[in-house]
């Protein structure tokens, strides 16, 4: 299996794509579309495909149109296509809204008891009634139909159901079998013989990465699109090792996290822009008191409540500058699940090594999308040693060392007093106002950034994909990496993905753009935040492909937009 998203180490030929199948399943919110999408992803995963699932749903619990788009490919993929091979419709809206996306020889399987369409209808209502099954099982019925239409063997369905369905397995299977029986095979999705990798969401990847980084506590107040991290980690909390707390507000979240940091326990929090606002005062405290914390910020379209269940890349500027005063921060913006895993682990460790706040900036597309996750392509994650106090000299919490990093000790530590302080303070943590000491301590804190930047040279802070010799470059960040890589392959472009946003990897970016004649910055926002960050560092990017309607780019759409810029 090839992976077009593997960064270029040496020049490597990228083959054309072959097996690439898109399935759209849609219905009302509350119909279990999400679950169905996950089962379909499971089916194709079982057939040996790489998976990407895009979920679109409104901010409501039931009713309204919601759909999952499952794309399966023999190569690693991280974005959806406009055109689809299978349309599975649980209501009329799904047919009406998406029939324009059908490829020529596409299959439609629909619930004939509520919708009209070309393709193969199943009288789902009747089946459910006959089987005495609840309404939510309609999706099992459609999935049965889909398997038949797509030539997926019944045993595989049975197997995947076993894994994914905890409640009323038998009845679900029965209903699925009725669906299976009700339609005709139209094509056969070929089974691939490749190594199977798990399919996980970006949120799960972040959670796993945090665990890998040594997480001890997770504190969060629910907020789309990162509530999934809270739910995921809460589900794991039971078997020990981590404490998961959901307190009264985001203010409490960040302050609790800093309390945990004081005790030496690695802690992370998650939120979205609105909740992050409430954390900014605590962020600044983390900067001053040198209390490490990882904040996962999930982007969705604002301002304010905005479009809470859609996607955006609008908080780059905000996370770079949030909080009063000047202090170093680490910011990484992963683009797929492997990066989400890797950088969450690294962020937690670097936060502690440098005693700074770290931000993992994700977008809804990544956070809530599901992706094949290949652990083998994750770089090794070193276990960073904490800069612990060696018990030699008397302890000073803010010892002004050469690197600015002070040795750590944690209460209770016999005979030792550990003072952290939000005021400007001396080395022992006592409030001061003296001009000289203030300047020294401020320089100490800022100095850490230089050393962090130096250390980051060993990391892939900027990644390059596509045609390494191409002089035309797509510049991107976050989940747009997926679509950019595919478009780059189609148009023979190079892709430069900025992963670390602070400290800004200027040298690496310059290096990667050395031979670039034409750079197009692709972002999910209206003002071009990455490109404006680039110009702050003297790199002017004139061309921008921006999208800010809350929906991610499909390959097709991005290709079209990029081609226009290239004319």
């Amino acid at each position: 299996m090839q992976n077009i998203q593997e960064p270029i180490k040496e020049n490597r030929e990228i083959p054309l794509k072959r097996n690439d199948i898109s399935i759209l399943i849609g219905g009302k919110a509350g119909f279990g579309i999400d679950k169905a999408g996950s089962i379909i992803a499971g089916l194709l995963n079982r057939l040996g495909y790489y998976i990407y699932v895009y979920r679109e749903y409104p901010s409501l619990i039931r009713g309204g149109h919601t759909y999952s788009l499952i794309r399966a490919s023999e190569r690693k993929i991280c974005c959806h296509n406009e055109q689809i091979d299978f349309l599975l419709a649980l209501n009329q809206d799904t047919v009406d809204l998406h029939k324009g996306r059908l490829k020529n020889n596409a299959s439609v399987v629909y619930d004939a008891s509520v919708a009209q369409s070309s393709g193969q209808g199943i009288a789902v209502a009747g089946i459910l009634q006959e089987e005495g099954a609840a309404e939510v099982m309609r999706n099992s019925c459609i999935i049965g139909g889909f398997c038949k239409a797509a030539g997926i063997p019944w045993e595989i369905l049975e197997d995947v159901f076993k894994k994914k369905i905890d409640k009323e397995f038998d009845l679900n299977l029965k209903v699925a079998l009725r669906g299976f029986g009700a339609v005709e095979r139209q094509v056969t999705i070929p089974e691939l013989s490749s190594r199977k990798v798990p399919v996980i969401t970006g949120n799960e990847a972040v959670g796993l990465g945090l665990l890998k980084g040594g997480l001890r506590n997770f504190v969060a107040y629910p907020m789309t699109p990162t509530s999934g991290i809270l739910h995921f980690l809460a589900s794991l909390a039971e078997d020990g090792g981590i404490k998961v707390i959901h307190p009264e507000s985001e203010i409490s979240v960040i302050l609790m996290a800093l309390g945990f940091a004081y005790t030496g326990e690695k802690t992370a929090v998650s939120t979205s822009g609105g909740g992050f606002c409430l954390m900014t005062e605590g962020l600044s405290l983390a900067g001053m008191a040198e209390l490490p914390v990882v904040i996962v910020v999930g982007q969705r379209p604002g301002p304010s409540t905005g479009l809470p269940t859609y996607t955006s890349q609008t908080e780059l500027n905000f996370v770079l500058h949030a909080g009063q005063g000047e202090f170093p921060r680490f910011i990484a913006a992963p683009g797929d699940t492997e990066e989400a895993y890797y950088w969450s682990a690294v962020a937690l460790q670097l936060a502690w090594k440098y005693q700074i706040p770290a931000i993992v900036l994700v977008d809804k597309t990544l956070a809530e999308g599901a992706f094949s996750f290949d652990m083998q392509s994750v770089p090794p994650i070193l276990k960073e040693l904490l800069p612990l106090w060696d018990r030699d000299l008397p302890y000073k919490r803010y010892f002004n060392s050469e690197t600015g990093v002070s040795p750590l000790a944690f209460a209770p530590e016999k005979g030792t007093v550990i003072k952290v302080n939000s005021y400007e303070h001396d080395e022992s943590g006592i409030t001061i106002e003296d001009a000289g000491i203030s300047s020294l301590m401020q320089a100490k804190r800022l100095r850490k950034e230089t050393h962090l930047a130096e250390e980051l040279k060993a990391y892939e802070t900027v990644k390059v994909y596509g045609d390494p010799k191409a002089s035309r470059v797509l510049l991107c960040w976050g989940s747009n990496k997926g679509a950019c890589c595919e478009v780059a392959q189609l148009l023979s472009l190079k892709v430069v993905q900025v992963v670390v946003m602070s400290p800004f990897p200027l040298k690496e970016i310059k290096q990667s753009l050395r031979q670039a004649k034409e750079v197009i910055c692709v972002e999910n926002n209206a003002t071009g935040q990455l490109s404006s960050l680039m110009s702050r560092y003297g790199i002017s990017v004139k061309k921008r492909v921006l999208k800010s309607d809350g929906r991610p780019f499909s390959v097709d759409e991005l290709k079209e937009r990029v081609e226009k810029e290239l004319l």
Partner: protein, 283 residues
């Protein structure tokens, strides 16, 4: 009493005559006596807000977390959850705890988390020059209310009782012995404890005479009796002239939030094991 030196090199900058000195003296004595009783000094963490009161963190040579205005409670909670064996004492102003950070107080009481909150209730924002707070009386003239406030004060103890606090007491800055006793009892109480100290701000709201006239010490009071506690708490509403009871109003044994996180150490799975377990289910 223990001969340990609890002083720091920080210069004390409270106004002469400030009621904070009494709190400082009392808590130092309590800390020493806790050490005498066998508690290692390093097992104590002080948390403070921002305001005159909060400088206490600079003045005691003990572990401390000098937090933000209004944010004493959340770090205190976290430290307790992480280190259930330690004693966490929060020092907050009335502006701090009953105003900006009131919500945290309510939830800490609800959770009955075992921290002690000492409120330096001078009924003004001291450090920002004397504006009214949630416990200033009706008509109080501060720089943000030069015509006098037009709202009644909160009775913070009443709100705390309704929120589930399991230890509630009151002291004044004229009454060192009582303060000492209350503080010690509060720190030793297993569960959320709050001591409202009528700490006099000599500069902006000098109530020494008033309090001297109206306060009395509870005696023969049964702190296990919630209705009695309520009656005593409501005797004075922080507004109209009335007798002001001092002492422990209420005390109750109840499960503590942090106990939920006491995990048998052996139960922990290795991280890598847990990760691959999850991933294998996701194939």
């Amino acid at each position: 009493m223990s001969e340990i030196n609890l002083n720091t090199q920080a210069v004390n900058t409270w106004c002469p005559g400030c009621g904070n000195f009494a709190i400082l003296s009392a808590i130092k004595m309590v800390l020493k006596s806790l050490v005498d009783d066998g508690l290692p000094l390093e097992n104590i963490v002080l948390v403070s807000g921002i305001g005159c009161h909060a400088k206490i963190a600079d003045y005691i040579n003990v572990n401390s977390f000098y937090s933000l205005h209004g944010r004493v409670v959340p770090p205190a909670e976290a430290i307790k959850i992480a280190r259930p064996g330690m004693k966490i004492i929060g020092f907050a102003g009335d502006g701090d705890a009953y105003g900006e950070g009131m919500e945290h107080l309510i939830f800490a009481a609800k959770r009955n988390i075992d921290i002690t909150m000492i409120i330096h209730n001078n009924r003004v924002y001291g450090l920002t020059t004397g504006q009214y707070t949630p416990t200033s009386p009706l008509g109080y003239k501060g720089r943000s209310t030069p015509q006098g406030t037009r709202e009644r004060p909160l009775n913070p103890l009443d709100v705390m009782l309704a929120s589930g606090a399991t230890f509630l007491a009151r002291g004044t800055s004229h009454g060192l012995d009582l303060l000492k006793n209350i503080f010690k009892e509060a720190v030793l109480h297993k569960g959320f404890s709050l001591v409202d100290v009528l700490q006099v701000c000599v500069t902006y709201y000098n109530m020494y005479e008033y309090y001297d006239k109206w306060v009395y010490e509870l005696s023969g009071h049964d702190p296990a009796d919630r209705s009695l506690a309520e009656a005593k708490i409501r005797e004075w509403d922080y507004d109209r002239d009335a007798r002001i009871a001092l002492g422990v109003f209420y005390k109750k044994a109840a499960p503590c939030f942090e106990d939920n996180f006491l995990m048998p150490q052996g139960a922990k799975k290795q991280v890598d094991e847990r990760i691959s377990e999850f991933l294998s289910q996701a194939v």
